[in-house]
Amino acid sequence: MAGKTLYEKVWDAHEVRRLASGQSQLFIDLHLIHEVTSPQAFGMLRELGLEVAMPHRTFATVDHIVPTDARDEPFADPLAQAMIEELRKNTREHGIELFDVGSGKQGIVHVVGPEQGLTQPGFTIVCGDSHTSTHGAFGAIAFGIGTTQVRDVLATQTVAMPRLKVRRINVNGELKPGVSAKDVILHIIRTLGVKGGQGYAYEYGGAVIDGMTMEERMTVCNMSIEGGARIGYVNPDETTFAFLKGRPYAPVEDEWEEAVAHWRGLASDPDAEYDDVVEIDGSQIAPYVTWGINPGQAISVEESVPDPAGMPAEEAALVTEALEYMKLRPGQPIKGQKIDVAFVGSCTNGRLSDLREAARVVQAAGGRVAAGVRALVVPGSEQVARQAEAEGLDQIFRDAGFEWRYAGCSMCLAMNPDKLVADEISISSSNRNFKGRQGSPQGRTLLASPAMVAAAALAGEVVDVREVLGVKV
């Protein structure tokens, strides 16, 4: 008999039963909530007169609406203040732990879960947020849900979900110097398309993924949803265990060994069968930049923006729409494209290693943020901020003319005061370049790695970070 994938093992261990519709009723080990997608769910519970069934399995943080320049309350935006207060009220009323502003644990939900050791291999994890796929880096089955499903989890600790197919993506070989985890996932999305993952969970493996740190794996899994896959995961290994050991909510000393033994057994069996297998040559990946209005519209920094002339009509229409919105010339090299704003942060690239990487580039390049460019560094959590400050990274950024901020989602989706203005163009370490994503209906976004963002901030235009770092291209 063929072996099983981690996905199948975890699913089977959590399936309460099959529903009449044929979907699985899936038990949820960890439920994460934030201020944007949970208040309506609590409202629905109240209307139905229901309690939160298992408050010890739900954890809350505030991230989307918190201002990152000043955190005194009340916030300047009364709606933001109302949302944080609603979350405080709901968590207090139902006995749910909240990582509030100033607690030392607050931050972007997908940064704090792993950082606190809430995220563990073999868990089913949900959150009313599509980037919940991030937690799959630990060998968890983690996916985003809608608010009505948040209600379902609060009321029953289960959701109704169809079982997905599993696609194994092997990233083979070795990455070239100056190429990051962000470039790997942008390359995968470009290769398989933004809809390529529909109906699939992505299992990432191969030498490149095996060699990655947990933070890098999180970057890859984070953007699975940008490739259409609701779930992305990596099998747990020694790197995973080493990361988790000693974290506040991780298994404690006397059962650590048992936990690790269990986790080891969850990894996909060598003879597991996949619905699809894709091979990617890691040595072919270069630093990436997006040029369009979805994350699949990405090219390496050496390439030129596509020219719709001569393309099949349907493709040409998409490319033309993107170029018109982005105000880019067909066929122009992406290198040299001027930028107005540089943003380092988000659940994709707002972790300590991302800030270190950006700071390293700032030091290597020397000099200051280019005249006329607004550059922001927003740590993913209070803990990331603390660690970065302890290492002096904040000083490196400040000295170079970056703004050093408090933790939050910030300009990733601009629900707080950090926004693009008019048709400003930003280079951003976040995950979405949709029209209007960064707060202005005409705002434009180029997605790239933190290193590429830092390099562009200093140059005032898109540059190849490998030249800044002096690594051979």
């Binding site: 309460v16 069934a53 050791g117 809608g146 289960t158 809809k195 998409l318």
Partner: protein, 206 residues
């Protein structure tokens, strides 16, 4: 819960592929603690300019007011998991969306609130879109039992994930009641399974 077997009404075509949830409901409309009033936020930045003046958008055209079926392209609803997107569509009076394909989270969210999402093959979809453009007064019928979309004397076979179709036609699209039936079983899993910060959960699991 009401069984949803058929949806019939006038339609509007919202052209374009890969229409993401940020476009369906811009993020600033997520700053609220209820879904009330979301209907007005639907496609806001595409429908209105900065000063709030209506732009030429299908949803703004007088002859499309009161439409209850939206005809869209491929990859509709990609991006964020915000249920605000299907909620806004539903609250703007729509009961069904016909497209080439839907993003997964969007599809699940829509089904759970009784907003029907079905797909047609690209050729049929093209014919439907053209017909709707030419017949603002014409009615389109989505028949989940017969698995057909009917318009102007034509019939096109529709596709929808069977679990979703079943849930809609049997009136079980909101799964909460069914989920709650298994509470005893769930409590056993909760006691047995490891959890964050929980002691003893991994004992005997390996």
């Amino acid at each position: 819960m009401e069984a949803i077997k058929k949806v019939r009404g006038r339609a509007v075509v919202v052209p374009g592929d890969e229409i993401d949830t940020d476009r369906i409901v811009p993020a600033r409309y997520l700053k609220a603690i209820t879904f009330d009033g979301l209907g007005e936020a639907l496609f806001y930045d595409e429908r209105y300019d900065e000063t709030g003046n209506p732009k030429d958008h299908p949803l703004n055209r007088p002859e499309r007011q009161g439409a209850s079926i939206m005809v869209v392209g491929a990859g509709f609803g990609s991006g964020s998991s915000r249920e605000h997107a299907p909620q806004a569509i539903k609250r703007a009076g729509f009961k069904a969306i016909i497209g080439e394909s839907f993003a997964e989270i969007f599809f699940g969210n829509a089904t759970q609130i009784g907003l029907v999402c079905v797909t047609l093959d690209p050729e049929d979809l093209g014919v439907l879109a053209e017909w709707v453009e030419a017949h603002p007064e014409g009615e389109v019928e989505v028949d989940l039992e017969a698995r057909e979309v009917r318009f102007g004397g034509r019939v096109a076979p529709l596709a929808i994930r069977e679990a979703a179709r079943e849930a809609l036609v049997s009136g079980r699209w909101d799964p909460l009641a069914e989920l709650m039936e298994a509470m005893d079983e769930i409590k056993k899993l909760d006691a047995a399974r490891p959890g964050p910060g929980k002691r003893g959960g991994y004992r005997g699991l390996a």
